[in-house]
Symmetry: C2
Subunit: 320 residues, 2 copies
């Protein structure tokens, strides 16, 4: 870890694993700011190689004609920061990709939804070489190499360690944040990654889950009195799950999530978009792992359990 390039002036080499709505957007922003970025993209390789990456954004459209795109990890150079931006439903490929892609002192930055995703990565690269990032962004992939950024974009960074022991703000968090801030990506730091992940679940579990079960956008979920009751009681279970795992989420945070959502434009959650496209849903990362870890720690989470079973059935027959 000593030789991870920490100074602001030392260039760090980035790899993007999963050049989609998240990885494509952040990778393109970094490259545009002068960072060396290598993009792994299997399905979209030909198009990206020939046409580059296009980002449509209310902050200004741009196109990168030349990008370092690869379909095979064996052709990529070792990188200092490997950004994992796959859907968690594809994580079975990580064991094959990460070890060879990572510089001997490099780190993996996991930009995925849900809980336990850093644990999965750590088993391949070691528990002291992983960071987690929570993305607060609305973006879609329109087609190969074509990203539409709709709103927001901040990333909240946190250091991972086995059992999610809090690490505070480290120098390599600052170094990575420096690169992202050069690329005009707002950054925050979390001293306790597990707390940050549970806090994000306060929104993600009710809104992602109920958007699929109730075929609804966020505006209906937050304004209809019955679905709002369902949202609020699920949020209370997430808080109870976090508490059982030793993390206290203040009531004022839950209130803020509700009022923020009231002000959002009607929004299809990522799970609902996956459902409509008949892609596998991120049920395990968003709901299954929190449910199992909270329950194992002694919490009673019956509504999360019912929602988990419902989503699993709906997902299975949606893709049958």
């Amino acid at each position: 870890m000593a030789s991870f390039p920490l100074s602001a002036s030392t260039p760090r080499r980035y790899a993007i694993v999963g050049t989609g709505a998240i990885g494509g957007y952040y990778g393109a922003k970094l490259q545009r700011a002068g960072v060396e970025v290598h993009f792994l993209t299997r399905s979209d390789y030909e198009v990206i190689r020939q046409e580059g990456l296009t980002v449509e954004s209310p902050e200004g459209n741009f196109r990168l004609g030349e990008v370092r795109a690869y379909r095979d990890v064996a052709d990529m150079p070792p990188c200092d920061v490997v950004i994992v931006a796959l859907k968690t439903t594809q994580n079975q490929v990580l064991g094959e990709l990460l070890p060879s892609l990572l510089n001997s002192d490099g780190v993996v930055l996991v930009l995925q939804n849900g809980l336990g995703v850093e644990d999965e990565v750590a088993q391949w690269v070691g528990g002291d070489r992983v960071l987690g990032g929570l993305c607060f962004i609305c973006s879609n992939k329109l087609g190969p190499g074509q990203i539409r950024h709709l709103d927001y974009g901040a990333i909240a960074l946190g250091e991972y360690r086995p059992n999610y022991k809090p690490q505070g703000v480290t120098q390599r968090m600052r170094a990575i944040a420096h690169d992202f801030e050069r690329a005009e990506i707002p950054m925050q730091f979390h001293e306790d990654l597990l707390l940050a992940r549970w806090k994000k679940l306060v929104w993600n579990i009710p809104f992602n889950g109920l958007s699929v079960v109730l075929d609804a956008k966020t505006d209906r979920l937050i304004t209809d009195s019955n679905s709002r009751q369902a949202v609020e009681s699920l949020m209370a279970e997430v808080v109870a799950g976090a508490r059982a795992c030793g993390r206290e989420i203040p009531g004022v945070f839950v209130e803020e999530m509700l009022t923020t959502t009231e002000k959002m434009p009607p929004y299809l959650t990522s799970m609902k978009l996956d459902f409509e496209a008949k892609r596998p849903l991120e049920i395990e990362a968003i709901l299954g792992t929190p449910l199992r870890r909270g329950t194992a720690a002694g919490a009673s989470l019956p509504q999360m359990a019912l929602l988990y079973q419902q989503l699993t059935v709906l997902d299975r027959y949606n893709r049958a």
Copy 2:
């Protein structure tokens, strides 16, 4: 109550309120057996008046060319037994119908789903003039005056009293059962109507509720491992709700419900049929009232609560 016609040889006059899949079927069977039956039917009056009632059934089709049909309760004679076979979602009309339709010593037999339906009727006719009947039948209305009976057909009768105080088997239960048995309708007696109603909810809450949320027939709900877990944990909550209300449902009964359902042909529940036809769902009788009464009695019923909220939202937007 003394002058309710109790003897097997004294004819009892019947009224059917709601000439649909349930009321049309049982009323037609009674009339065919020689019982005097008067049918209230608003929407289907013209057709039934002209063409009578037709029953298709694996036990033999039959048609009644002449039936006593009414669109207005004011034209009907007072009856000894008024069978309420409306959907519970129409119960707001009962206060206007029942008092004038009921003979001074007559009784109301409530053939509806769910919990608390006898209480609603009792407020109009008095707490000692109500019986409940639980129908174990698959039948549909194909069109005005056209009933298709698919399977089963038994009715389990019980006496109602305020607070569902158990009444045992009464003479008027036997008198009514005599008429139904003449009409080849299998009858059972329940000494404790409230216990019978909670037992029926062990099936009705999970299967009706999940069939709508998961867009599934009974076979998928019972065989898919995730939906079966949801079924079983909802059943456990129904048992807990019943227990809080002072009624013990044995575990062997729950097991029987599961194995019986495994052997059933794939079956669309009545709530799912209502949902597909964009009719109002019987959420309050089947789920809302049990949830409120169980909770008020001290039970914790979080999965029933979530399912209740979900169904209410789905129903509202289904008919919007």
